[in-house]
Symmetry: C2
Subunit: 336 residues, 2 copies
């Protein structure tokens, strides 16, 4: 836990790697979670192939180690290992990434390749699991036993923490919370299912719904913000326009809140969690999103589950994944 | 576990009580799950008030004890206690039933009232949790680590077993799997939400959809089976008509399979369980229901989750609840 000042972990460090389709975020933390060091981001450049990506990860890890040692007076012997968060599906036991559309990998032994390159033990877990565990370890869900996490970006990832431990299911495939259908005959999702949360409330889905509203002839500052090129609208554009008072954007944000609220209400009735934490760009939307989202959950979920649960934005921003990757390593080695 | 022949539990017994709105099922099992004794059912008669219901439970427990002793040569000292399954919501720690619409109870200390009446320790858990645990202990989900249970009757209850233990959530409200929305703008559910699984696939919802089909003018043996009184159609009538080749009934069963499949696909993407077990009257429908249900799940859920999971009918029939109530007592006392 973050507050522990156990001598055996306080002076030792874990490096985290959050591998994404666009960027790799790397950083270090003291093994007890108390301090963070040398966080930085490098481009993934997946098109250069897996060897090049591993080399870039290894270089970033070495740089993080060097900077952490310089900052803290630690030595390389104080580095316990590397926690890696990666898009899935993956196999934690073998450390193999089974498939990642964004990187074009199949059955790639990422954990062992990174471990060999930096000569440190490593662990591998799903990126959304990591982000949720990060928020539980030192972020918005700290101290809770049962936590549901949603990471909202290009897709919607999920993480399930029960009794302070990530829940992985029978074959590491649990937690695909963005791929729960809230409308059985609704929008086709990239996964093949219909009406998935991700098809309504991911970043691209939010942008798409804004474009649909504009195509319907509504006037909005969204068009001017992207110089008339509607393909450039992103979820961030929508949030910004909403904050500047745009009616169309406000409508899109309210709908997003409603869709997320329907999904979150399902998770409350299923899990009765203490915290639901939403991370990713969506947290930029603030109360304009969270207030109607909470109202939708109250309308739909059972009262005892509503009363037991806080629904909050993540507090770790883009660092949730790398911090959580560190936390997974720490948990796997009995340190968190 | 069921196979254990530990001397200390083999010769001892646990009594189970499955309290329903219509009937109370009571029975005993050897504490290791190996043998079942003196199962019987008495009417609940909730309209006579809670004192009368407790007295009827106590009488049924005493009769079960007497019969079990006669069958096995055990004495009353070999009776470890009473596991009670009740409609919820409830509080396991205090043993209080918070609210049951069917019985008209609020904040009723069921566990302690039964315990005092029969002078044995008792435990209390949710009825659908119990049914799922029963199927895990000695039924269709035996030996699995992660199990999702759905009990389909007047409502749709749910049970979640993770790592061989029931998951209860922050305030014993977890597992309301029948109240997950699969259609955010769909049928109003009794719980206040829209599009809940229960609103489509519970016994009454199945009967209602059959009546709607008949109201649309379709001809069917369903009308003759109930002498033209469509209010008498139940899910059992529909299953029977389907088995006798009725086209309207077959359509209703296929739709039921589809609705359940959408919900079960969500549970696969969320939990990645080893077994999904469906209990209750729905198991009467057999392959006519389970085959299209599995096909719908394959269409919608992620392949790794589909490959890891069996979707099966319960094997304990109407005894799942009472057997599971016994199992919850056994687990709470470290015996199962």
């Amino acid at each position: 836990m973050g507050n522990r000042s156990d001598r055996s972990t306080a002076a030792r460090y874990i490096i985290g790697v959050d591998l994404g389709g666009t960027n790799i975020v790397v950083g270090a933390m003291r093994a007890d979670g108390a301090t963070r060091h040398a966080m930085h981001s490098v481009p993934t450049q997946a098109d250069e192939g897996s060897d090049a990506v591993v080399a870039r990860i290894a270089a970033a890890v070495e740089r993080t180690i060097a900077e952490t040692c310089a900052e803290t007076g630690a030595t390389r012997d104080d580095m316990l290992g590397v926690g890696i968060g990666s898009p899935g599906p993956l196999d934690r036991e073998t450390g193999i990434v089974i498939f990642t559309p964004n990187l074009g990998w199949r059955d790639f032994p990422l954990r062992d390749r990174v471990s060999a390159a930096v000569d440190l033990p490593a662990t591998l877990d799903n990126d959304a699991n990591c982000a949720t565990l990060g928020e539980w370890w030192v972020g918005a869900a700290r101290g809770a036993r049962h936590v549901i996490g949603l990471t909202i970006g290009t897709g919607i990832g999920g993480g399930i923490i029960l009794g302070g431990q990530l829940f992985h299911g029978a074959s590491d495939a649990a937690g695909e919370l963005g791929h729960t259908s809230i409308d059985a005959t609704g929008r086709r999702c990239g996964c093949g299912n219909y009406g998935c949360l991700e098809a309504y409330a991911s970043g691209p889905a939010i942008a798409e719904r804004a474009r649909e509203a504009l195509a319907g002839g509504e006037t909005s500052m969204l068009s001017t913000m992207v110089d008339g090129d509607l393909t450039r609208i992103t979820a961030a554009t929508v949030y910004e326009a909403e904050q500047r008072g745009d009616v169309v954007a406000a409508h899109v944000v309210r709908d997003t809140a409603k869709f997320l609220g329907i999904g979150v209400a399902n998770f409350l009735n299923i899990f009765n969690p203490e915290v639901v934490v939403l991370a990713g760009g969506v947290t930029q939307a603030g109360d304009a999103l969270f207030e109607p989202l909470r109202a939708e959950v109250r309308r739909r979920a059972f009262t005892p589950a509503v009363e037991a649960c806080r629904i909050v934005p993540g507090t770790l921003g883009g660092s949730a994944g790398v911090i959580g990757a560190i936390a997974t390593f720490a948990q796997r080695h009995g340190l968190a």
